[in-house]
């Protein structure tokens, strides 16, 4: 019995549960960015809308990366339920601030899984997660730089600020 499950799965079951939570988190992030993209699209904020449409797709790719990883390693990936997507925003700046918060949450969650993988000697997942850790550091940095632009251009018309923002 000791090795019964190990023969079927390369990853640790506890870690697998956390990876499934992470799939949900990435899909939630994707849904959230899609809502932000729509807000920007409706207001003709061209760079921002492109940026958020792209973010929505990227988050889905992250989810899929974990999804196939879980199944490829003998586990059971679960298609998550996405609830309570916020579609109401007060300003473009608040959207980027909310995005940074969201990214920080995702980073913390990845760290948690990484720790758990270490604790359980799940080296396969540990190595897999390294890409995500680098990615999250880049993502956080991207949003921080954008919020800096808002600070620098305070008082300027919204469309002018949008023109200075990255499309991806």
């Amino acid at each position: 019995m000791k090795t019964a499950v190990r023969k079927q799965m390369t990853i640790n079951p506890v870690v697998m549960d956390l990876l499934n939570n992470q799939i949900a988190l990435e899909m939630e992030a994707s849904a959230s960015y899609l809502a932000m993209a729509s807000w920007c699209d409706q207001r003709e904020l061209l760079n921002s809308k492109e940026f958020f449409y792209k973010q929505a797709e990227e988050e889905r790719e992250h989810a899929m990366k974990i999804f196939t990883f879980v199944n490829d390693n003998g586990g059971a990936a679960l298609s998550p339920q996405i609830q309570n997507v916020n579609n109401d925003f007060e300003s473009l700046r608040s959207i980027y601030e909310a995005s940074l918060d969201q990214e920080i949450n995702v980073t913390q969650s990845i760290f948690n899984i990484f720790k758990s993988a270490r604790k359980e000697d799940d080296f396969v997942t540990e190595i897999f997660l390294q890409w995500f850790i680098t990615e999250q550091a880049e993502e956080e940095d991207k949003f921080r730089s954008i919020i800096d632009i808002f600070d620098l251009m305070e008082g300027m018309p919204l469309k002018m600020i949008d023109e200075r923002l990255p499309k991806e």
């Binding site: 000791k2 499950v5 799965m9 390369t10 990853i11 003998g74 679960l78 000697d121 799940d122």
Partner: protein, 100 residues
């Protein structure tokens, strides 16, 4: 007779062959593939969360659970449900990845 002992006798999970598992309840013996075992683990885990247990107790005090891709329906009261959860967890807890 102690309730735990009784439950222990009625539900059992065993490895049958390399990729087949056997769930024995008081009425039947069900063969499970590994994906079906993972599915059972997930469902039982959800049902034994604090919140779900309360809901079960407030309602009928038992659950009917589909197993093996809905080929079987099993009846579980709360002690049986908790026992099955433990049984499954012990099955998975002896997992030590790579170090075998």
């Amino acid at each position: 007779m102690n309730a735990d002992v009784h439950v222990e006798k009625t539900i059992q999970l065993k490895e049958f062959t390399f990729c087949k598992y056997q769930l024995t309840t008081h009425t039947k013996v069900i063969t499970l593939s590994f994906p079906q075992l993972l599915q059972l683990r997930k469902n039982v885990k959800e049902l034994t969360r604090h919140h779900s247990l309360h809901q079960i107790i407030d309602a009928d005090n038992f659950v009917l659970l589909f197993v093996a891709d809905k080929q079987h329906l099993i009846y579980l009261d709360i002690p049986q449900l908790l026992f099955l959860n433990k049984e499954i967890e012990s099955f998975f807890s002896s997992f030590k990845s790579v170090l075998i």
